[in-house]
Assembly symmetry: C2
Homo-oligomer: 151 residues x 2
């Protein structure tokens, strides 16, 4: 079953599209606290030559410094299932809930997140799946670099 | 038993001390490939107001973009046991070996790293332990923010 986007996943998707328009890897994320977007970002590997700025990491980076009490009221929305680095960041900051646009093109570490108590919802939205599938087919080298797979 | 520092842990420690001299959290790291330091950095929470730039992440960030084949020849040296975010980054990039200055002041996720096949060596060097202990005692608020612990 595929699910539609709410305003927050829509914002994460817009981040992904912004990244694509910059020539980057189209993965976007927003950090939401009590209904308000408090951080947003997208993968910056190509744009900034930076291997740690996955979409989720860029959103956390852009949200700035906060105490633990801040993050426990947050939900992270990301267009693609988070890798182990981004999952680790979610666990470090004890973000209790993650909403994932799709896990068809990349399985990520949602099972690991759940095993450590994070609530994970996977939408598998068709528009996001199609967008990411097209990007991977057209850009296999940079995609494999981003998930550190040998080719 | 406490062990002495080799040139790489010494470089990571110098990064930690540089961070302390900047008013930051004194945790440093270097990425070493075939005997050569290819990335170095230190925690930048205070200096850059950035929650994702732990020492290990800053070193990976400063080392730039690389394919998976690059990282598999690397060892990461870090003064403090890596948290779950930094451990996730180590696993994403399949860095096979991590050398840890100490895990007395923070246990980190070395058991998790080992469970996923990473070789972890923990030196528990006295000089690094003492330096970090003093920092935490004098700066409990920023330290707890960095590991996202409620106070």
């Amino acid at each position: 079953m595929t699910e539609s986007m709410d305003q927050y996943m829509r914002a994460a998707y817009e981040e992904a599209l912004a990244g694509r328009n910059e020539g980057g890897i189209p993965i976007g994320a927003v950090l939401v606290r009590n209904g308000e977007i408090v951080g947003r970002g997208h993968n910056q590997r190509v744009q900034k030559g930076n291997p740690i700025l996955h979409g989720e990491m860029d959103a956390l980076s852009n949200s700035g410094r906060h105490p633990a009490s801040f993050y426990k009221e947050c939900t992270l929305y990301t267009t693609l299932a988070p890798c182990i680095m981004c999952s680790g960041a979610i666990l470090l900051y004890k973000i209790p809930e993650v909403v994932v646009g799709e896990d068809v093109n990349y399985p990520g570490e949602t099972a690991f997140l759940r095993s450590r108590g994070v609530k994970v919802t996977i939408l598998n939205n068709e528009e996001i799946i199609r967008m990411m599938k097209t990007f991977i087919e057209e850009n296999p080298t940079v995609w494999n670099e981003d998930i550190s797979e040998e080719v």
